[in-house]
């Protein structure tokens, strides 16, 4: 069976787990929402909030990413299914793309919700002209985050203390996404006088990042997880 069909199988399985357990819908989304509110609490000087809203959206996304990745691999390790998958001879690239695909689908929903929350909570506005930029940013950033998350999630999954190894590896790696996506969204929302055209170079960076980690991750996943 082709790696690509296997990847789709795995992604579908992950999404089915979500449909059956509703953990993400019922828990991660609210978590992300609460995170945003908490940020707002912690930094309650209003003018500040306006200024940093895009950054906060992506911070909340990143912390939710950690939770999502943990969940995604908890499913696999709870009862030794990851071992079973490896023994089943499922190509490690298929596992990588499958898990990343499932993760990306979940992430993108999350990001859209967060962005809407930001628009409402922090009083941001979205203009029609910037929607293309916004959508491209979301997709590129999501792919990058999903790739990094899957790669390190898989590495950490086999070890004790995985709850803690994962953030240590992931956070520094996704920092570029955080920055790039923040700047791009600032441009899209016109925060602090940014204009839409400022955003595109950042999107370029996000795309490069996503491609690099997508390709690199699929190659690296085998050696990292297989032993």
């Amino acid at each position: 069976m082709s790696a690509w069909r296997l990847a789709r199988l795995i992604a579908r399985k992950d999404l089915r787990v979500e449909v059956r357990s509703r953990v993400i819908t019922n828990q991660v989304l609210p978590f992300a929402g609460v995170t945003m509110v908490i940020f707002a609490f912690a930094l309650d000087a209003d003018s500040v909030l306006q200024r940093v809203a895009p950054g906060l959206v992506w911070l909340a996304t990143m912390f939710s990413l950690l939770v999502l990745v943990q969940r995604s691999f908890a499913i696999e390790t709870d009862d030794g299914a990851l071992d079973a998958m490896r023994v089943a001879g499922v190509d490690s690239r298929a596992i990588f793309f499958g898990k990343a695909l499932g993760l990306a689908a979940e992430l993108i929903v999350l990001e859209v919700v967060l962005l809407f929350a930001a628009v409402i909570l922090y009083g941001q506005t979205i203009e029609v002209g910037s929607i293309v930029l916004l959508v491209t940013t979301l997709i590129a950033a999501t792919c990058g985050l999903a790739a990094v998350g899957t790669l390190y999630g898989g590495l950490a999954a086999g070890f004790r203390g995985r709850e803690t190894l994962l953030p240590l590896l992931t956070l520094p790696a996704v920092a570029p996404v955080l920055i790039g996506a923040t700047r791009a969204v600032e441009a899209a929302l016109g925060t602090a006088g940014a204009v839409v055209s400022d955003g595109w170079p950042w999107v370029g960076m996000l795309i490069v990042f996503a491609v690099a980690f997508g390709v690199g991750g699929s190659l690296a996943f085998g050696p990292l997880v297989d032993e």
Partner: protein, 258 residues
Amino acid sequence: MTTTDHDLPAQSSAATTSSATGTRATRIIGIAAIVALGWLVAFGLGFSPADRDQEEAVRILYVHVPTIWLAYLAFVVTAVASAMYLFTSKKSLGWDRMAGASAEIGVVFVAVTLAVGAMWGRLTWGVFWQWDARLTTTALLFVTYVGYLAVRRLGGSHHQRARRSSVLGLIAVIEIPLVHWSVRLWRSLHQEATVLDTDGDIDMDGLMLFSLFVGVVAFTLLYVWLMLHRTRTMAMEDIVEDRGLDAALAARRAEGEL
């Protein structure tokens, strides 16, 4: 993989027979490093002039910049050695040890850059730390390689360790250009590239430049010296582990005799 195959790089086979990691060559390099460091002190603190704006504080430069350059070099060496481990068919653990040793030294050098930079910042900017792009990316570089070292310690056989960490070593090295060009990318507070500038002309006082050069030479010698010793101690650690395995094997087999 047999008992005797420790994949020792040729030059360190001495390590298996003597109990020390020093050889004539390393002793010479060590002495050269000490001499160069002495020169660095002399030029850095004595002969080179104070700066127009920075005044005496500029002398920090002669440590700050060479250490980060050597750290870059160390991480590139890590990446190259990782690639050599992964993509050569022999899968020699020598490359892996080289990668590990280089990363360790690199982390120490980045730490020095960070510490010295922070002190410099206190002198010139009035604070230890600024949330400037270069500083932040440097900090992230540091954390990334701390993570790399953490993964090296995850356990498993030598080749498992080597495979895992060599992959990470290749991924992590991408961050170096990010640090280097961060100033451009984010137009930050920190000094723009003045020495390794792309336009080629170096605008620095001659003696200052020479002092910097002395610093680079001194830290390079130090790096080479540390590398030689560290790879050899790591080789010996691996040998000790393998001997431990022999002992453990004997003990395990003896269990069955009872």
